[in-house]
Each structure stands twice: as C-alpha cells, then as structure tokens.
C-alpha cells in the first residue's frame, strides 16, 4: 500500500521538477563580462534582493570586474573592506603596473584580503554560490570567477536548549546556522579525525547536510551506509533533520524512534565518541545521531557528570517510570474489571468506594481522563506562552477537582492519570511511543485483562528485538547480550571503569587499541 502511494507521489514530483528549473546546467562561464551580466540578469529576473556592481578602473579603464551577491546575505562591511576597497586602491595607483592579461591572477592572489576564496568554472556553480551567500567576482576576459565567502553571521545566538535541560554540564545548544554548529562540535573535539562531509540535498532548497563522525572510532560500514542512504534521498526540500530521519530510517512502520536527535552539544559529542554518526542540517538546531538504541532513551548527559550510584538509581527510576507510563492505566482497568481476586481486601474497599456512583465503566473513565490530559498537553505545546498559565490552571481544576466533584471520574483515576502523565515526561524520546502504547494496552486490558496486557507486551518485546538501526539490533546490549556493554545500561559503571567503547559500533581492529590506549593514559597520569 505504501509502495503504491510512494509511486504515485513520485510521479507528481517529477512532473513538477521538469517545469521550473531554469538553469541550463553546465555552461562554461563566458569570458566577456557583458555576457555574464546578461545571463545573471536572466537568472535573477524579479529577484529584488540580487545586487550586481561593475567596477571599472585601471589606467585605460581596461579592468572591468563584476561583483554579484544577494543583498543582506553578505556582510557589506567585509565585502567593502576585503574586496572592493583593495581592488580600487590597487588599480587607482598609477605606480603599480599590471597587465590586463593577468588581472584575474592578480586579484585572486594579491589583492583580495579574504581567506575564503574559491575558483568557479561554470555558470551553474556561480549561481549556486550567489544564492548561498557568497560574493562572486567576474573578471573581464577570464574563464573563471572567484567566489569569496563574506557571508554575514545571521541567526540566533548560542543558547541553552529548551527541550533538553541539564543540571550539570554545558549549556550550549545547537543553533540554526550550520557553520556555528560545526564550530561547536570542533571546539570540543580538537582532532583532525573529526570529519565533516557536506552534501547538498533538495532540488529546490539546496540545503547543506553535514555528515559528522570521528574517523577511526566510527564504524566505516555504518558511515558508508549512512552516506549511501542520504545520497539516495530524492526530494525538492529539506527543512529539518526530521525529513532526513524519515528517509533513512530502517523500518518505516514502527512507533519506536530508530534515529536519535539532540540539541545539546556535549551530548552529541559523547555520541560521536561512542562511534556514532551525526547528521547536521542547515536551518535546524536538531542534530541526528545514528545508530539509535532503545537504551539511549534512559540515558541523560547528567548521568555521566555525576556519581555512578545516583546515575544508576536514576536509570532504574526512569525504567520504572517507562513501565508505569505505558501500563498503569491498563493495569488499573484490568484489576478493577477482571481480577478482583488479586486486590488486597482493604484496597478493594477503597477502590470500590471511590468507584461508587461513577456512571462510566473504568475503561471509559480512563479513556476520558487520558484524552483530557492529552488535549491539555497538546494545547500547552501549541499555545502562545502567555496563555499557557491560564491553561494550566483551567486544566488542573477541570481534571483534578471538577471531574471528581461532578462524579464523572473517581479520585483514584485522577491520581493514576496524573502519575502516568508525570512518568511519561521522564523519558522524552519515548513520549509519543508510550502515549500510543498506553491506548493499545488500555483497550486490550478492557477486553482480556492481564492476559491481553501480557500478550501485547510480548508482541511489543518481539517487535523491539526485531528492530534494527543501521544494522545494529535495537535492544543492544540486552539482545543480543553483550556483557561488556552492560556497563552503561540500567546499572551504570563509574566513568573510570568504562574502558572500552560500545562494541557494536566499533570496527574490529580499533576496539582493543582504543581501550588499551586509554588505560595507558590512565597509568601515565597516575604515575
């Protein structure tokens, strides 16, 4: 069914593409500046932000240089200081001889004071460089043009991400600007082995995608596979890493996230050091990490900065919360509707008393309350922040007090939904998964009680064991069991005891050397 839809969509896209691309691809640059001008004007017709300026100077006005750029995209100060002023200064002084033939070489190597210079040979490249924010210099009589990077640093300041808050550790989060993000990573890994590969995606948007990994730690096979899958993406627009995530994921029919994402620099760096591959995308602060394992949902960067005892306790707590947030309403409904026998006597009286006079069955009651909560949550996310306060007050009163007072929901149900809701926020990557699973478990619990719950639980576990993220089993290191990797799971070893990197990410020959190297370093430092 999905194949058919995809085919259909694919056909439409192709039709669209054929009509709109105006570029006559790999035309070489014309030598005459007038022709260049003509062509550029054709390309950028009706683009009010396109600016071109012709500099005419020299003794006989024989030096003609065309500077083309997009307004606002380039830093005008830098443009003037690095390009226009030096050119004008140089050629207006009569004591500096030049030959018209070598003006291009001269400009390239002696005059322009900017470091970021690149030679361009085709019209297509020139146009692309202009729209990506470079200034292009066309020298009359030359077959080549110069692209000078004078992009102005637009965009947000580096700030603490709202979605991932940590108590300890770096507060720097990624921003929308790709080069800023790359710097943020490079700042933490000062090593030439840290590689950034830029790939352009999107026939319309020409978005820069950056593949980031540490050579020697990341598994080459995984890097190649990621690269291959990214290359295979055929789309006209990439607006967020979420687009890429959907294209490259292993299993498109699963609820569970097979690609991780993060906004925090220190978290991403630690993932890179574990041998993972990151995908950055210009225009979004969310960075993808691959492969993604289920256990990562329980890990936070704070775990590693604090004592392992506390981290272990927090991990256990998170695991417990994960189970509660998926199963608690279902267990309650199963208990109250089917398995009265297992409820202790005093509890059954409390339960029955709280259920007295409620017109709905426990299932309907649970469904109503959970739906109410989900409405509230979604509204809270979408609403302007200023209205949020009012919403939370209304929600607390409606959910907590009024529904009980009106006899629509029991006290206990309110408590259960509240606990479920709190627990679901403890493991953020799985919020949406647990939300859907909660409904599945709830429905099955109403029909089959504990039997149904355990049945679905088995199905979910089988599904989890079957999932793979870039060839790595999702449940690693539990299934398949990798004993040395259990050190960083539910029970966490202290940081000095984590000598080896996760086994499955590594290439065969590096895993031991990395470990021993680190041990040696430790020894040296002890001495």
């Amino acid at each position: 069914m999905f194949k058919r839809i995809r085919k259909h969509l694919g056909r439409e896209k192709q039709e669209n593409n054929s009509g709109t691309v105006p570029m006559n691809a790999d035309d070489p640059l014309p030598q005459s500046i007038d022709k260049v001008k003509e062509k550029l004007e054709e390309f950028f017709s009706d683009c009010s932000d396109y600016i071109q300026r012709e500099i005419v100077c020299g003794e006989d006005n024989d030096v003609r240089i065309l500077v083309a750029h997009i307004d606002g995209f380039v830093d005008k100060k830098v443009l003037n200081q690095d390009i226009i002023r030096p050119i004008l200064d140089y050629f207006s002084c009569s004591d500096r001889p030049y030959r018209a033939k070598y003006v291009y070489q001269l400009v390239k190597s002696c005059i322009i004071s900017n470091n970021e210079i690149e030679e361009i040979e085709s019209m297509r490249q020139a146009v692309y460089r202009i729209v990506s924010g470079d200034a292009i210099l066309f020298v009359n009589g030359s077959k080549r043009a110069l692209a000078v990077g004078v992009k102005s640093p637009h965009g947000r300041q580096v700030a603490e991400p709202d979605t991932e808050v940590s108590i300890r550790g770096s507060r720097e989060g990624f921003v929308e600007n790709l080069s800023t993000n790359m710097i943020l990573i490079r700042k933490r890994i000062k090593n030439p082995n840290l590689k950034f590969e830029i790939i352009q995606l999107g026939t319309q948007t020409n978005t820069d995608i950056c593949l980031c990994y540490i050579k020697g730690i990341a598994n080459d096979e995984i890097v190649n596979e990621v690269r291959r899958r990214i290359m295979k993406i055929k789309t006209d627009a990439i607006l967020d890493t979420g687009y890429i995530e959907q294209y490259i994921t292993d299993n498109r029919l699963t609820l569970f996230p097979l690609v991780g994402n993060s906004e925090k620099c220190d978290k991403l760096v630690s993932k890179l050091l574990e041998g993972r591959v990151a995908i950055l995308c210009d225009g979004t602060p969310y960075v993808l990490t691959l492969p993604y394992l289920l256990i990562e949902a329980l890990q936070t960067s704070d775990d590693y900065y604090d004592h392992a005892f506390f981290a272990t306790f927090m991990r256990l707590l998170r695991l417990f919360a994960l189970f509660i947030s998926t199963l608690l309403p279902a267990l309650y409904v199963a208990l109250v509707s089917f398995h009265h026998i297992v409820i202790p006597f005093k509890l059954i009286i409390t339960l029955a008393a709280s259920r007295q006079g409620i017109p709905f069955s426990p299932f309907v009651e649970a469904l109503l309350m959970i739906m109410a909560f989900e409405f509230l949550r979604e509204a809270g996310v979408r609403m302007p922040k200023t209205v949020g306060q009012a919403l939370s007050i209304v929600g607390a009163i409606v959910l907590g007090e009024a529904s009980v007072a009106a006899g629509i929901a029991s006290n206990l149900m309110v408590i259960i939904v509240a606990i479920t809701a709190i627990c679901s926020f403890i493991t953020p990557p799985l919020i949406r998964v647990t939300m859907l699973l909660r409904f599945v478990f709830l429905i099955i619990a109403n029909f089959f009680g504990f039997l149904g719950i355990s049945l679905i639980a088995v199905v979910v576990i089988i599904h989890l064991c079957k999932l793979r993220s870039f060839g790595i089993p999702y449940m690693t290191p539990f299934s398949p069991l990798t004993i040395s990797d259990l050190k960083d799971t539910v029970i966490m070893a202290p940081i000095w005891a984590m000598i080896t990197r996760p086994r499955l990410m590594l290439q065969g020959d590096t895993q031991n050397t990395m470990g021993t190297k680190r041990q040696e370093v430790n020894k040296i430092s002890e001495d």
Binding site: F345, I349, R355
Partner: protein
C-alpha cells in the same frame, strides 16, 4: 493482502468475544463474612456479611471529623436457606442485588449444629470454588448462630468481620484461641493422625464477641469444647505459643509471668511393639511482668522458686487439656498419631482406625522446664512494707 484481511477479520472477532467476565467493582457485592449453619429441619442456612464500601468510607471519615451519626450502615447481613451451601448462596440472589464476591471473605463462622453433623460439606464447597479466600479465619460459634455473630455492630471497626478477624489474630500475644485459616483446614481434614480443632467464638452483646477456647472435632464432627486455659495447654503441647501471660498465686500476692518462648517435644513411647506412654517435654522462657508481694526478688533462689511455680502452672493446664480430650472426647488433637505414623509405620497401618481410642487410654508424662530471664526494670515490688 489476503492474509492481512483475514487477520483483520480475526481481530474483529476477538473483540466480539472479549469482556464476557468484565465486571465493574461497583457491580459486585463484597462479602467479608460467611456463616454456615443448619436449621432444625437439617436445611443449610448460609449467611453473608456484605460491605457497602462508600458507607465504610463515610463512617470512618465522619468518626475522624465531626463525629456525626452516619445514615447508611457499612455492612448488610443476609441469610438464606437451601438444600446445599452452593444452592443457598446462588438462591440468595432472590434477596441480594449483585453478584456475591467471595474472594474478600475474611471470616468463616460455622454453626454448632452444622459442625456436629460434620464440616466436610462446607470444606468441599469452599475448596471446589475458585473464588474462596484460603486465608479466611475459621471459627465455630458456641451457644449462638453464625447469623447472630455476623450481625453485631462493633464500635471498634466499621466492618464486623475485620473486628472478629482482629480478635482471632491477636492470639499470638495471648494464646487463648487457635487461629485457623481455611487452607489449614483443607489440609488437616484429610489427616487421620491428627484431629481438627477450630477456634470458638461467643457473642457477648450486640457490639462485642469473644474468641476464647477451641472446638474439638473427631472425624470432622464437633465433639466438644476446651476452655481458654485448656486451650493454652493444648497450644503449649502443639508448640504454638508465642507469647502469653500466666498468673500465679503466691503467699501474700500474685505474679504475672510473661512467656516469651516455648518449645515442646512430643513423643510416643513404645514397649513390645505397642505404645505405652505419651511423653511431653516443654521448655519455656519467661519474664516477670507484674509482681505483687513483699519479698524482694534479689537472690537466684527466689527466681528458682518462681520458676518452679510457673512449671507447675503450665503443667496443670497441659494435664487438664490432655485429660479432657482423652477422657471426654477421645480425640487426638495433639497429633500423637503423626509421630506413630512417622516412627512406627507398621504399627500405624494396623492401628490407624482405632487410634483415637488407643490414644485416650494411654498414660501421660508431662515435664515442664521453665526459666525466668528478666525481672523487668525494677527489682523490688512497688508495694511498701507494712
């Protein structure tokens, strides 16, 4: 595609068959007490005590708050007659609105007349029924009907069954009634070598009951009763005393001794392949809990004296229990038969059928060795010399 369609239909059918036993908690009657008795015509009378959860909450909260009298009663007691227990329970729906839920049953009260005819019938039903609560306490109503016991309205607990269960449970600190769970009865009824005993319950007034003493059975039929002191003697022999207080008269005063630990060893002595004597060896340790007298308890000799008196007192209770069961009831509730079965299986094969009669003829040796460990925080009595 075909398979997925089939699977979808299969799933739909699953939804249809589901929830056949889905019952809401508010659609069941929570039974806390069950009474079984027989009337004059030999018909079974089943009594249930049903809790009204909302009323329980109301009464407990109103007691805590304003103390105003509650309108609704926390429990209802219903009785119904039938040919069998199950018949009576099911037919009871003529007067009861919702399904009776027996898993919450806390106490099972058996009537005297019913017990005299044998309790096998009740045990059969309760063992067969998957809902019955095995941890329910079983008691025999003496001199009253189970219905009357279940109808009491105690002030101490909103639910009478919980009140009664509490009194039976606290036998661990007084050792004057035997607490018997339903599941223990299931096991013991099949045991030829040990006769059943069940704690007895009597009604004091409309608000109080008393659980003291035990009912003695022989072959599953009620044959008689033991009073509280005989019961304690029985518990000493069967090694079930955890804590209790024994009062002893001394010249010019009284002593209350707190028993902290007691170990009993039973033995059947054989001679020429036949049982000759029953020997019971009890060792116990106690503290002085209360002392009213003149002498100062300073020397070990004083303590020895008290130890001896304590031994005598315990021995008296044990002998009383033994005599009563041997002479009057001829029922081996102490489980001497088990020892014979264990150590003289050949003899047991022959004598199993007449064991209770053989038991009642055997002479007994009772040895009690009492030790006093502590005299409490003070040495001399509070009473001043005259």
């Amino acid at each position: 595609m075909k398979i997925s369609k089939l699977a979808f239909v299969f799933l739909l059918s699953l939804l249809m068959v589901g929830c056949w036993d889905n019952t809401d908690l508010v659609d069941i009657n929570i039974v806390t007490g069950l009474g079984i008795d027989k009337d004059e015509d030999g018909k079974i009378v089943v009594t249930v005590q049903i809790v009204e959860p909302a009323a329980v909450h109301l009464t407990s909260s109103s007691q805590a708050g304003s103390g105003g009298s509650s309108q609704t009663k926390p429990v209802y007691v219903m009785s119904y007659k039938g040919e069998t227990i199950y018949d009576a329970l099911i037919s009871m729906k003529a007067i009861v609105d919702k399904r009776l839920f027996l898993s919450t049953n806390q106490i099972l009260i058996l009537g005297e007349r019913f017990c005299k005819d044998g309790i096998d019938e009740a045990l059969d039903f309760l063992h067969r029924n998957y809902q019955s609560e095995y941890r329910a306490d079983v008691l025999v109503a003496r001199g009253t009907k189970p219905e009357e016991i279940l109808k009491i309205q105690p002030d101490m607990d909103a639910i009478p069954a919980m009140y009664i269960k509490g009194t039976a449970e606290n036998t661990v600190i007084r050792a004057k009634v035997e607490q018997k769970k339903l599941i223990e009865l299931f096991k013991e009824i099949k045991n030829e070598a040990k006769q059943i005993t069940i704690g007895q319950i009597t009604k004091v007034d409309d608000k109080t009951v008393k659980t003291e003493g035990i009912a003695v059975f022989r072959d599953g039929k009620l044959v008689g009763w033991l009073d509280q002191y005989q019961t304690r003697g029985y518990l000493f022999v069967t090694d079930k005393v955890d804590n209790t207080v024994i009062s002893i008269q001394i010249p010019n005063g009284k002593i209350a001794l707190e028993i902290k630990q007691s170990n009993a060893k039973r033995e059947v002595k054989f001679k020429n392949g036949k049982p000759e004597r029953l020997s019971i060896d009890i060792r116990l340790e106690g503290n002085i809990g209360e002392y009213i007298g003149k002498e100062i308890l300073s020397s070990p000799d004083d303590i020895y004296k008290i130890e001896k008196m304590l031994s005598q007192a315990v021995k008296k209770e044990v002998t009383m229990a033994l005599e009563k069961t041997q002479k009057d009831y001829s029922s081996d509730i102490f489980g001497f038969g088990e020892l014979v079965h264990k150590y003289h299986p050949q003899y047991w094969k022959k004598a199993a059928k007449q064991w209770n009669d053989i038991f009642s003829q055997l002479p007994t040796d009772v040895k009690v060795d009492a030790k006093i460990r502590r005299s409490g925080l003070i040495k001399s009595p509070m009473k001043k010399d005259d």
